[in-house]
């Protein structure tokens, strides 16, 4: 619980942060510190230099315009959870943020740190995958690139981010009038992290589903799109039977590695993916569970 020695720099701008990353071998960014500090204290991470981006104002804030929600990487879970504008524009984000950890964690933890840390048990990767979000990244020399979740998450604690890159913001489409979205999470009773999380975004015309994006996380190294479930759902009336039928395709989409531990085995988690998808769809469409 005592971190090894490191040098500390506070960056005033993104450019300075990138410059500090480039000029120090083994340097690491620190945002809210809620994933990195535990690693330091357990001496599992030993960066020689920490570059604190916590006060860079250009990385903070939520803007909503032209059908796009743009959230600065440094925006805290609490800010996202308590944004009224966001609740209207893309309620699933506010809802997911409100279910992260506890008050202290939400007050400090940032959406950017969360996705870059790429913990399979995190909530944001799953939700952002279902939303079809985009990650805006800045690199050395002011270069920028934009990446979709599928090209961002590589595996547990690994992404395609370069060592000298900063995630600047995340963009997601606002939800239209006919769209419903929901995130259902089976939380670990100790950590509150997702054992299984299911995010659904469905478009409903009349009572028929015309489009669906569904992702699950928690049980997989990186979020998985549930394309079979989506296919089974599109064109169907969103009633209890059709939702249950569609959810039952979940295992088709879960052919890769499934995570398991002594608390929840892979087999259980796989079964729960179907249950959580069902719950999310029931809630999203207000179809009664029983």
């Amino acid at each position: 619980m005592y971190a090894p020695e490191f040098e500390y720099h506070r960056a005033a701008t993104v450019a300075e942060a990138i410059q500090l990353l480039s000029s120090n071998e083994d340097a690491k960014l620190i945002a809210g510190g809620h994933s990195l500090l535990p690693l330091l204290k357990l001496r599992l991470a030993r960066p020689s230099v920490l570059v604190d981006i916590g006060r860079i104002s250009e990385l903070k804030g939520i803007t909503i315009s032209d059908g796009t929600v743009r959230i600065g990487a440094l925006t805290t879970h609490w800010e996202i959870a308590s944004s009224h504008d966001l609740e209207h524009a893309c309620g699933i984000m506010a809802e997911a943020a409100g279910g992260i950890g506890d008050t202290q964690v939400r007050n400090r933890g940032t959406i950017g740190g969360n996705v870059v840390h790429a913990d399979p048990a995190s909530d944001w990767p799953t939700v952002l995958t279902a939303l079809g979000a985009k990650f805006n990244i800045q690199g050395a020399g002011g270069s920028t690139r934009t990446v979709e979740p599928g090209d961002f998450f590589v595996g547990p604690l690994t992404t395609t981010m370069g060592e000298q890159e900063v995630l600047t913001s995340i963009e997601a489409p606002t939800l239209g009038h006919h769209q419903r979205a929901e995130y259902a999470k089976m939380a670990h009773p100790a950590s509150g992290f997702a054992v299984v999380g299911a995010a659904v975004v469905v478009t409903v015309e009349g009572d028929v589903c015309t489009a669906a994006r569904i992702a699950v996380g928690g049980l997989v190294p990186v979020p998985v799109r549930m394309t079979s479930v989506e296919t089974a759902l599109v064109g169907k009336a969103l009633n209890q039977e059709n939702i249950a039928e569609a959810a039952s395709h979940a295992s088709n989409d879960l052919q890769g590695e499934i995570l398991g531990d002594f608390f929840a085995s892979a087999e259980y988690r796989k079964a729960m993916a179907e249950v959580e998808i069902r719950h999310a769809l029931f809630h999203a469409t207000e179809v009664s569970h029983h």
Binding site: M1, Y2, P4, E5, L42, R43, M186, H188, P189, A190, S191, F193, F262, F263, A264, S265, Y268, A271, M272, V275, H290
Partner: protein, 789 residues
């Protein structure tokens, strides 16, 4: 008479300082020249230490010294076990403060670094290299006794630490009768696992040792539930005279049993200070606490119960394998024996009882008391067996209990295990709880929901427990290495203000408030004029500490008796000052007056002033207004009650929701009902933790998998419902206040109450057994299996 202060729910006076960060916990204390220690712990569950190289660590910046077991061995005596149940062939194997040639659990102390800062000490710790020869290990308390199991201690063949027996009546004969007459009898049996728990005090352990070499005196700040016992044992371990040791444990952030034991770490800290002649602090990290602070429970139980077909229990037979961990912790062996086996009758008439308890050594963290200590394990097995009997006989489980409850008694009831309960009215609390529940309505709702594929269940427990430890003569007879009396000084100053010095050591239970209420009630002094002092062995009189729900029963008894002595002296002095005969002096509400003429009076404050200045004392009366009492209770106390849990289970995912919890308890007269409620809340949640969320997991190699709050689920507020707390009052006939104890009842009753409720919910799905904690996956799997069957 104004409202009595005894019985009023005034606010806890400890809270302002605790809630505003003004409390002084051990780690908050800073001394000039303070050094910091960090302890290197074994990464292996069982290994020979071939060699240790500390040279690089010694050379690291800021490091003053590095010590290993080779340095402490022979200087520090082994850490003693202080509870050795008699006639149990107990093997008090040596327990060195730092491992000498063998490590026996992950977390066993191997070396200590002392440096100018904790960071430097931690950095140096990484530079120590230890060459281990890894040995096979054993984790399960029953498997430890299997032939061929890895052996922990030469002196303890088959890893057997002890074999303790409790017997009353003739259980074997009763089971034979039952087996021979199946027409009229039924026998149920079950294997039950009481999983290992981690007590989780919010404040981890910490110690500051300050050796003043010129005086040969050792001051030890220590996070202890019983500083006087620490002083006693510290003198045995360090060889410093007990009169030269001062132990301070004023603000302690919870213990739940884990701060009863004497640990090697604190003694190593003392050793460092004595070697370096500077104050040394060691504070356990949270990660360390998982490994190095005692765990609780860890029973493998085989239980049989026999009854007649009309539901009268005739016999109980139990075999327990209780894991002790790698060494015997201070009170460890007393927990699964005295505090467990003696309660096999619970609140029931069970004429024939037999229990065999095997304590075993395993390559795990030592096991000691954990809130409830032994009694939750006894209540669990009784209540589970009664539930099984009820099911087998198709008798309503509440009715089943009613048929076996001991009838109300006011002054003593003997049970087959050989103990005498003080007083009880078990039907009373059961009636109260059932009324609150509306049992018939709930069963009806349950049936309706089931027809819609929804599952709720109800669990009802009647329990009684042994606490208020206890008569010292009995303590001696049951192998407890100390007394169990308490002492208290009530001291009045000339200004009428009062200090109460107590030997017990509250660390969250609120006795600074309730003991002031006792004195205020006895003597009519405003409660805010009374301050309770505890936790410093140089300031307070001898006491055996706070555990076993004994503080108010025994320590409170000493306080009340001291207050009464003051009253007697006050009366005599008042008579003298009022020039009346002592027989004519009456006392009421803080005033001594001449019978028939209340205007002729002296207040207790007048008396305090006159006694302190001593200008006009009666012939032969000593100055001062102060009294000391050494109180040794004639019996234990036996609080009791009935608890009810209502749960729902979602068969889709196995989720359990605790919907309602009713606790109807009887702890005798309540000094402060708000504090009583708080104790019940905490206790119930702690027990709920064992039922639903908590449990230590070791892998086969003895690595702790639940080594952090990310993996070990401690219940939080949002996981439990608003509790419905009720009570009845049945005074204990034998102690000055008639009080029982309330600190552990919640934990003792709630685990099995919730467990039985869940099994009741799952009954229509064919699930009859589950292992705790009742995780969603376990519940879901059991449902899947039952479906498949």
């Amino acid at each position: 008479m104004t409202t009595r202060i005894f019985g009023s729910g005034i606010r806890r006076r400890e809270d302002p300082r605790l809630m505003t960060g003004q409390a002084a916990f051990t780690d908050d204390i800073k001394l000039l020249g303070l050094l910091h220690a960090a302890i290197l712990r074994s990464p292996h569950a069982h290994a020979k230490i071939n060699s240790i190289d500390t040279s690089a660590a010694r050379a690291a910046p800021g490091v003053l010294a590095v010590y290993t077991g080779a340095d402490t061995d022979g200087v520090l005596n082994p850490i003693p076990c202080a509870w050795l149940p008699p006639d149990s062939d107990i093997k008090a194997v040596p327990h060195p403060a730092l491992a000498v040639d063998t490590v026996r659990y992950v977390g066993d102390g191997v070396a200590v670094v002392v440096a100018e800062s904790r960071y430097q000490a931690e950095d140096a710790l990484e530079l120590i290299t230890v060459d281990y020869g890894v040995l096979p290990s054993v984790i399960n308390p029953k498997a430890a006794m299997d032939p061929g199991a890895p052996q922990l201690h030469e002196d303890a063949p088959n890893n057997q630490a002890f074999h303790w027996v409790v017997a009353g009546g003739d259980a074997d004969a009763a089971f034979e009768t039952a087996a021979g007459d199946p027409q009229n009898h039924v026998v149920v049996s079950e294997n039950i696992i009481q999983q290992r728990l981690i007590p989780h005090a919010v404040e981890t352990r910490s110690a500051i040792a300050n050796w003043q070499s010129a005086m040969g005196e050792l001051t030890l700040w220590s996070t202890s539930q019983n500083p006087h016992i620490v002083r006693f044992l510290c003198s045995l371990v360090t060889g410093v005279g007990e009169h030269k040791i001062r132990v301070i444990a004023t603000d302690v952030g919870g213990g739940f049993g884990s701060k009863i034991p004497m640990y090697g770490d604190e003694m190593v800290t003392a050793f460092c200070s004595m070697q370096l002649r500077r104050p040394v602090k060691w504070t356990e990290t949270r990660s360390e606490a998982y490994l190095a602070t005692t765990h609780g429970r860890d029973h493998v139980q085989h239980v049989e119960m026999a009854a007649t077909k009309d539901g009268k229990i005739t016999a109980l037979r139990v075999v327990v394998h209780a894991g002790m961990g790698a060494y015997l912790s201070t009170a460890g062996p007393g927990v699964p024996t005295i505090l467990h086996g003696l309660m096999y009758s619970g609140p029931y008439d069970i004429p024939n009882i037999k229990g065999d308890v095997y304590g075993t050594f395993t390559n795990t963290t030592p096991v000691d008391a954990c809130r409830g200590a032994g009694r939750p394990e006894a209540t669990f097995l009784l209540e589970r067996m009664i539930e099984l009997l009820a099911s087998e006989l198709d008798i309503d489980p509440v009715e089943m209990r009613r048929r076996n409850l001991i009838q109300p008694f006011e002054d003593g009831h003997d049970v087959a295990t050989g103990v005498t309960y003080d007083s009880g009215n078990y039907q009373g609390t059961l009636d109260l709880a059932m009324q609150q529940l509306d049992y018939p309505a709930l069963r009806q709702e349950q049936a309706e929901l089931r027809s819609h594929g929804q599952y709720i269940g109800v669990g009802v427990t009647t329990y009684c427990e042994i606490c208020g430890l206890g008569p010292s003569q009995v303590a001696g007879a049951v192998g407890f290495g100390g007394g169990l009396w308490e002492s208290a000084i009530v001291r009045f100053y000339a200004t009428g203000k009062v200090n109460v010095f107590i030997g017990t050591s509250p660390h969250g239970q609120g006795e600074e408030t309730t003991f002031a209420q006792i004195v205020s009630d006895e003597l009519g002094v405003p409660v805010e004029d009374i301050e309770v002092i505890h936790g410093d062995t140089d300031l307070t009189p001898m006491g055996w500490g706070t555990y076993g729900s004994r503080t108010t029963v025994v320590g409170g008894g000493a306080v009340a008796l001291s207050a009464r002595k003051i009253k007697d002296k006050g009366k005599a002095l008042a008579a003298h000052l009022l020039e009346a005969a002592e027989e004519d002096i009456e006392y009421e509400d803080g005033k001594f007056f001449v019978r028939g003429s209340p205007d002729q009076n002296k207040t207790i404050q007048d008396i305090a002033l006159m006694a302190n200045v001593a200008w006009n004392m009666p012939e032969g009366m000593e100055p001062g207004l102060e009294a000391t009492t050494f109180y040794d209770p004639p019996n234990f106390s036996y609080p009791f009650g009935a608890h009810v849990a209502v749960v729902s289970v979602d068969p889709d995912n196995g989720h359990i929701v605790l919907q309602r919890y009713i606790a109807a308890d009887d702890c005798g007269p309540q000094i402060n009902p708000v504090i009583v409620e708080g104790q019940v809340h905490g206790g119930v949640v702690h027990g709920a933790g064992q039922a639903l969320w908590e449990g230590v997991v070791y892998d086969d190699n003895g690595q702790l998998l639940t080594g952090s709050l990310l993996d070990y689920a401690v219940p939080r507020a949002h996981m439990v419902p608003d509790m419905e707390i009720l009570s009845t009052v049945t005074p204990s006939p034998h102690n000055p206040l008639g009080v029982k104890g309330i600190g552990e009842t919640g934990t003792i009753a709630s685990t099995v109450t919730i467990y039985n409720a869940v099994l009741d919910a799952l009954k229509p799905l064919g699930v009859t057994k589950l292992e705790m904690p009742l995780t969603s996956e376990r519940v879901w799997r059991a449902i899947q299996q039952a479906k498949g069957a």
